[in-house]
Amino acid sequence: MAGETRKQARQPVAEGKAQGNGISAVSQNGHADATAEDGASEAFVEYPAGAYTHEELGLSGDDARAMYRNMLLQRRFEERAAQMYGKQKIGGFLHLYIGQEAVSTGSAYAMEIGKDSAITAYRDHGLGLALGMTSNECMAELFGKVGGSSRGKGGSMHYFKKELNFYGGHGIVGGHIAVGAGIAFAHKYKGDGGVCLTYFGDGAVGQGSFHEAMNLAALYETPCVFVIENNEYAMGTATHRAFAQPDFYRYADSYGMPSALASGMDIFSVYKAMSDHIAMARNNRPSILEVRTYRYRGHSMSDPANYRTREELDARKEQDPIVRLKGYLLERELASNEDLDAVDAEIKQEVMDSVTFSEESPAPAISEIYEQVYAQTDYPFLTD
């Protein structure tokens, strides 16, 4: 039947030859094709799970342990945030990143924080913490307290941290992608050597703003890496139901950009892919990096995720990026179980302390509603 053929054709290419993580291991070095000498190849590159060791990537044992801690902090922070949401300490929407932590941590270690920039969508707790935002300021923002990173004015979807060149935290799907291109444009204009990592989900690829930003970034040769965090569902819509072409890295062809596909279940794959793409960006070569990842929780706290099966979820949890790195650290004797338990205990305490901090941090004064709307300090607001 024609209909079936069409549906088949819409399945992601890699899925047909998937090896558990949704990404095929095409060759020993993980590359589908040889790269050019500057690391920039028109051919698309794959970074499958399990293809890299930390030594090969120039990472020390300390680095690997720090990456583990960085990922686990995000996980424990969000588990606690979910609990606090249930206790109605947190309002509005809460979109959890649980399952995707290798993407944020892998890139945080590949970039030069402070010199480079990052911008993401509303599922932003993980990236914020990975870049170095504190548990206190993150939790207090969720609580809507003045100790929060935006003094309680932004909430879950709008984390920002200027000292870290973290440009948010954006609530409109696709709305921030061109902003990321603009941040990269500014790096080039000022000649400061920095690059901008612009993160968004698979759902954003359907927005016109994505395609406009790709074209402008390529046209102006801005130092930007567009990171598509493909977690397979835009809210409840699976990618194959929403996209005629669900292999998102292929869109790069339309804009003459290099692209690659990395496994988001292995932090070393993400780290390697991000490092290569950042190197291209430093030469003013924008690119697309599609990272295949998975979120364990629903789209937001109100989503029971009935659009997927228990079996699918369980299968994905078996490839958990934190469990994978833990296994790696133990197998390589980079850490003992006791060491890792101690890290977990320390993080849990840090997160509990952030809850206490947030409880004790005052709510914003009512007068703050008129502050930070404008730079102008004597703006004549209409007041009652």
Binding site: S150, G168, G175, V179, I183, F185, Y220
Partner: protein, 327 residues
């Protein structure tokens, strides 16, 4: 004082500011090699080079968003829309990103950006190319909206808008780019945002009007004078923040107000002024606040219909006489 066209005054403002601060750049459709769709940026590519006067594809959402990101990262973009009718495909960038990022970030990020270009009707262009946007954009806290009526104000206000640390919507007009007027050649000519200009003094009725409507209001004031009524004409120049104090001072003197605005009437600039004046000055008013606006319809194409659609001097005279209970 030099006599400049409106477009030359805008260009002078941009050139002076770009020479002063290298973080300022101009970006938009046809601004560079074509020398500007309306020749506002004529010669600027030669002067500043392609790194600072930048052509874009037809991609308003993309380049408006790029401007917002560049502004957050410390640059001061001037983004030209060929017309503000085209800004609607970039609406999210203006009303969510430019307007709200300072607030949502708790003041961490500023968005010092100017979006400029022609606004409102420009003849027989029919419904999609004849929208006046000041009422729309001034709805959003976080934005400032400027709408000058003459070359001198255009220069002084655009220089201030470029220096402002808040996002500014700067409204021009296709049909006014050739308008000539004396422009101050003071070294650093800045007109503060949020200050109205009393263009003509009078004690009988206040007319508030900006941009093209301002010229219709002056025409109406001349005709009213022939009938013995002295109208005071106030050009607000900035729509947000609005200099309501200047308007209120005038109404205390005349006790009558007519607001002229080429926006559609519903939930508009004119309804805002009427609301604020009745809240503040109910006891001072000797007549209801009246409005002369575009009609409550999309803009038509036919010559006779678009002429009727727009605020005309005769409509303003009629409204003023109604407020004066005159015949």
């Amino acid at each position: 004082m030099a006599v400049l066209q409106f477009r030359e005054a805008l260009r002078a403002a941009m050139v002076e500011e770009m020479e002063r601060d290298e973080n300022i750049f101009l970006i938009g459709e046809e601004v560079a090699e074509y020398n500007g769709a309306y020749k506002v940026s004529e010669g600027m590519l030669d002067r500043f080079g392609a790194g600072r006067v930048i052509d874009t594809p037809i991609s308003e959402s993309g380049f408006a968003g790029l401007g917002v990101g560049a502004a957050m990262a410390g640059l001061r973009p001037v983004v030209e829309f060929m017309t503000f009718n085209f800004s609607f495909v970039a609406f999210d960038q203006l009303v969510n990103n430019a307007a709200k990022i300072r607030y949502m970030s708790g003041g961490q990020y500023a968005v010092p950006i100017v979006f400029r270009g022609p606004n409102g009707a420009a003849g027989q262009l029919a419904a999609t190319h004849n929208t006046a946007v000041e009422s729309l954009y001034s709805y959003f806290p976080g934005l400032k909206v400027v709408a000058p009526s003459n070359p001198d104000d255009a220069k002084g206000l655009l220089k201030s808008a470029i220096r402002d640390d808040d996002p500014v919507i700067f409204l021009e007009s296709e049909s006014m780019y050739g308008l000539k007027g004396e422009v101050s050649d003071a070294a650093d000519y800045l007109i503060p945002l949020g200050k109205a200009r009393i263009a003509r003094e009078g004690a009988d009725v206040t007319l508030v009007a900006h941009q093209k409507s301002y010229w219709r209001a002056l025409e109406a004031a001349d005709r009213l004078a022939e009938d013995g009524y002295e109208a005071e004409v106030i050009d607000p120049r900035t729509i947000r923040p609005l200099d309501i104090d200047a308007i209120a001072a005038s109404v205390r003197k005349t006790n009558r107000l007519v607001v002229v605005d080429e926006s559609n009437p519903f939930a508009s600039f004119s309804s805002e002024v009427a609301c604020q004046v009745q809240e503040r000055l109910f006891d001072w008013l000797d007549a209801p606040v009246l409005r002369v606006t575009a009609k409550d319809t999309p803009a038509p194409y036919a010559k006779n219909l678009i002429e009727y659609y727009m605020p005309r001097a005769e409509d303003i005279v009629a409204a003023a006489k109604k407020a004066l209970y005159a015949r």
